[in-house]
């Protein structure tokens, strides 16, 4: 759609601008302020410049947390995106069953995150949880509070349980928008199921899949509550992702300076990656003629 140039439109945007400025810029400035100072308590602050930043850039603790975070985000994207598309392809198209599937699939998305954690914490316990008990009965040595690998598997399965539906629903919405004529043409050409997917469905889903990947990347990179409830970042530091580490540092140890520097680098990383996604996405939008 051709947009009219109209500077007065700023007045319509002003309320959002002021609100977000209040709830984002002021706190962010506080963070910037802390990140360049040190304190010994009593509200006495000393200028330390970029010391915290350089210290953090060489901190093994941060590198380890970042490494875990990247591995985690990669694994869940690699599982959830293909699985979500697969589920969407198998969803009923319309009628009662389609509604039932939609409602049931959306259910995990509306559960408070710490309840999601609680559900899996209980479900995985060997003494009272169905999963833990069943695995123990099968003779598999499973204990997510002791074994790092088990903790990782639990956290990943939990995230797949929690968020795959989001990808599936997005892909489903993309599939629904494909005109019937495409399928008819494919049938006339005697295209195989695979080429229908590869040449029709996948390109048409590209836009929504980018949204799915963007949202899943952002949210998995910021994940805090669910793994914190299930494993508390443990055993040891095995599942201490960036947010968990940051909260430990800021609210637990009250190391304001390093925590603030950490916050800024964290925020910038998320923003940078998201910006790349966003640029690709808007280019796709343009290509689609929106």
């Amino acid at each position: 759609m051709q947009k009219t140039v109209n500077q007065k439109a700023w007045f319509l945007v002003l309320p959002v601008f002021l609100l977000v400025a209040f709830s984002a810029v002021i706190p962010l400035m506080t963070v910037v302020n802390y990140s360049v100072q040190d304190t010994f308590g009593n509200n006495q602050f000393f200028w330390v410049g970029l010391e915290w930043f350089s210290e953090l850039l060489h901190s093994e603790r941060l590198h380890a947390a970042l490494g875990r975070q990247i591995v985690f985000s990669s694994i869940i994207l690699a599982i959830e995106v293909p699985l979500g598309v697969f589920i969407a392809l198998n969803m009923p198209q319309k009628g009662l069953w389609a509604s039932v599937c939609l409602v049931l699939m959306a259910l995990p998305l509306l559960i408070p995150w710490n309840v999601v954690g609680t559900i899996w914490q209980i479900f995985g316990r060997v003494d009272i949880g169905l999963l833990g008990h069943t695995l123990a009965a099968l003779g598999i040595d499973y204990n997510y509070t002791q074994d790092p690998l088990d903790a990782w598997v639990t956290v990943i399965v939990m995230d797949v349980w929690h968020w795959t539906s989001l990808v599936a629903l997005l892909a489903y919405a993309g599939l629904q928008s494909i005109p019937q004529a495409y399928y008819q043409a494919a049938k006339i050409d005697q295209a195989s199921r695979w080429s229908v997917f590869w040449f029709i469905e996948l390109p048409k889903m590209q836009g929504v899949l980018m949204i799915a990947i963007l949202i899943r990347f952002m949210d998995s990179f910021m994940i805090y509550t669910e793994p914190f409830v299930v494993t508390g970042g443990g055993p040891g530091n095995a599942t201490t992702f960036l947010s968990i580490d940051l909260v430990k540092m800021a609210l637990g140890q009250f190391d304001l300076g390093p925590a603030a520097a950490f916050s800024l680098m964290y925020f910038l990383t998320v923003m940078l990656v998201s910006w790349v996604f966003y640029t690709v996405m808007t280019n796709l939008d343009k290509k689609a003629g929106l």
Binding site: V5, K8, A9, W10, L12, V13, V16, L19, V20, S23, I26, P27, L28, T30, F86, I87, N90, M91, P92, S99, C101, V103, L104, A106, L107, L109, L110, I111, P112, W113, N114, V115, T118, I119, W120, I122, D127, L131, H133, W161, L166, L169, L170, A173, G174, S177, Y183, G207, V208, I211, Y224, L242, L246, A250, S263, L264, V270, M271, W275, Y278
Partner: protein, 276 residues
């Protein structure tokens, strides 16, 4: 319109099997929570059973008769509703501006808004605590509602803009020619046209405000404490009160399930942020 890629005839096709397996995977952990919420603590710890042997509603009774428990739900509902109202009120005009006009800095502003959706809440927990304490809003519902606008307003703008783009501009122009003022046109003609978009945006604001824990826990202590934070107190000296914890968890799922039911026909389009 008949779909060509329909299932093979027969009741139990491969597609149905996939869906049944997936939905079982989703529902079994939830079922386990419900199962536990209907048992006594003794039964949970001593016997392993896939359904309650001695059905009891005591856990729910505990929650629904104790003000410190059920006020958690009330508090959560208050700030979630406040948040939805605030987010939509400011996002509607902004989304209209983004969908209809180009102005200085529009693209940068749009990305800046979105960038707040990308801000890890952990980054903002401490500064928020200090900001709202210093303006005397700590432990109020409005503080949590305002804090949650950080990620909900950008999302609402994004969703609404997608829906508004689908409304032809000729409608605006015709209305202005007919002598409608902007506020009147916006509320009488435009908003009804994108009613489903507003519903979807409200759904998402509800969802992300309802499920969030870190900020709402940091910004409250007693008066506005959300249910998600109240739940942590089931850990006591005498061990975990599993039954009550499970019952509280089940009760947090109910509002979400109700909301999903109402917007079920728009869920898919909504998740695509109006962009399909």
């Amino acid at each position: 319109m008949a779909k060509i890629r329909t299932q093979k005839p027969g009741w139990f096709s491969g597609k149905a099997l996939v869906m049944v397996l997936y939905i079982l995977f989703l529902l079994i952990p939830i079922y386990w929570l419900i199962n536990m919420s209907l048992k006594t603590n003794e039964e949970i710890i001593s016997v392993f059973s896939v359904w309650p042997r001695h059905l009891t509603f005591d856990n729910y009774k505990t929650i629904l008769t104790d003000a410190s428990w059920y006020m958690g739900y009330v508090n959560s509902m208050i700030y979630v509703v406040l948040n939805v109202v605030i987010s939509l009120t400011v996002a509607l005009p902004a989304a209209y501006a983004f969908s209809r006009y180009s102005f200085i800095g529009d693209k940068h502003l749009f990305f800046w808004l979105l960038s707040n959706r990308m801000a890890p809440p952990a980054v903002f927990a401490l500064p928020f605590f200090q900001l709202y304490s210093s303006v005397g809003l700590f432990d109020t519902h409005i503080a949590v509602a305002l804090a949650h606008t950080l990620f909900n307003v950008p999302l609402a703008v994004w969703i609404l803009e997608g829906f508004m783009r689908g409304v032809p501009k000729e409608i605006d122009e015709t209305a202005y020619v007919d002598g409608y003022s902007f506020p009147r046109f916006f509320t009488r003609i435009f908003m009804p046209l994108i009613a489903s978009g507003i519903g979807v945006a409200a759904f998402f604001c509800f969802m992300f405000s309802w499920v969030e824990l870190l900020l709402s826990r940091t910004l409250t202590s007693v008066a506005a404490k959300p249910i998600t934070a109240v739940m942590t107190r089931t850990v006591s000296a005498s061990g975990m009160d599993w039954g009550v914890l499970a019952a509280a968890g089940v009760l947090t799922i109910v509002p979400g399930a109700l909301v999903i039911y109402f917007v079920r026909n728009y869920i898919a389009k909504g998740f695509a942020l109006g962009r399909v």
